[in-house]
Symmetry: C2
Subunit: 226 residues, 2 copies
């Protein structure tokens, strides 16, 4: 199909398609002449993927390029694929400039050590070089900064719940290699907003139920430390 | 204390402090002269909060201003506070421009209806006007776009796990009003990165365990629909 039909089929404007072509996010079509090219269903599918990554996925162009490369270079087993995906996707914690000075939330050695000790106490088998431990450490330190009472016991309670999420994630990975790459990379990026929305809705549901009953939430786990 | 001491105590550079003062994120100090002001511990604490919101929280200046206002205007009960917090914090799904055209992921009516039907079938008590249903719908539609097999059954399995997270969230809210406001607003914003990091670490742990055992994950829930 020509670029105009690709635009209609995918519902992506022609200038945006040309932009993706220039940025290397969309492979070139088969050249028909010096100015015309032919596109196929693979291009339609790639455009749907880009919509998802750049839209809800919240990725920038450079991040989307890394994610697509990780899918195309699908590694041979789930663990390699998972590590490739975790490297390709944006960190959960980023150092953010505020326009006037830098607010630096890179994990300190202390924050990293606390996260590593906590994960070891929990018995989690992890790649010791995973950047995710530093990210957990930085996110945990920010909760301290803000005075949220997140102690190791409450983190453990969250981890119990999150392990159930991860179990579904890992079990949902198809065995076919190309599909697995797609599922691991996209599942990590695109399910974060789904889980965040579910968390807010569940908070609302529980708060409304609690208000109706007029009693405290039916939870007797660790209390916040402050 | 003077601004230079506030800077040393809080580890925030003087130009950044002045920027926060101009932007109304930090209340003015008590004027000592035309050019000098006196700051106190409340300013130190506010700066810690801003670090957390602008850093790990990933908020922009305008969003941080809304969050701070929600804390200052603390509502009278947990449910009002929760709704105020959910309005102040950034949506989990945003419409993102890509520099060449708009990639529009605002929830369609269909996406909203599917999310609403799913939540009703689950029996969740929700404010019918909550924007979170549209955000869930948009995030779910993006998963469809990307070909992730997220059907209602798998969403239910995720919701079972996320309800445990929300139960801890809701039970961790202190009864004292100002503390509660702080906990609800910050807990929603700052625990998202903690939970995302935990999810990635748990995925890694489960994948490594599974590879060691050479067998499939011990999960027999719904398979992805495609």
């Amino acid at each position: 199909m020509r670029i105009s039909e690709l635009s209609r089929t995918s519902d992506v404007p022609v200038p945006t398609i040309k932009y993706y072509l220039r940025e290397g996010l969309l492979p070139a079509g088969r050249a028909l002449s010096r100015t015309q090219a032919d596109y196929d269903d693979a291009h339609v599918e790639r455009l749907r993927l880009l919509r998802a990554l750049l839209g809800v996925g919240g990725l920038g162009i450079a991040q989307a390029r890394r994610v697509i490369r990780a899918i195309d270079d699908a590694a041979s087993d789930r663990l390699e694929l998972l590590e490739a995906a975790q490297e390709a996707i944006p960190p959960v914690v980023e150092v953010v400039g505020d326009g006037a000075g830098e607010v630096d939330h890179a994990a300190s050695d202390d924050a990293l050590a606390r996260a590593r000790d906590w994960a070891a106490a929990r018995g989690w088998a992890l790649d010791p070089a995973t950047p995710m431990l530093a990210e957990l450490g930085a996110a945990w330190a920010a909760c301290d900064d803000a005075g949220i009472g997140l102690d190791a016991a409450r983190l453990d309670a969250y981890a119990d719940a999150v392990e159930r999420v991860a179990l579904i994630d890992v079990a949902s990975v198809p065995s076919e290699r190309a599909l697995a790459a797609r599922q691991v990379v996209l599942g990590t990026v695109l399910l974060d907003p789904v889980l965040a929305a579910l968390r807010r809705l569940a908070q609302q549901h529980l708060s409304i139920r609690q208000t109706e009953r007029g009693g405290p939430a039916p939870y007797d786990g660790p209390a916040p430390s402050r």
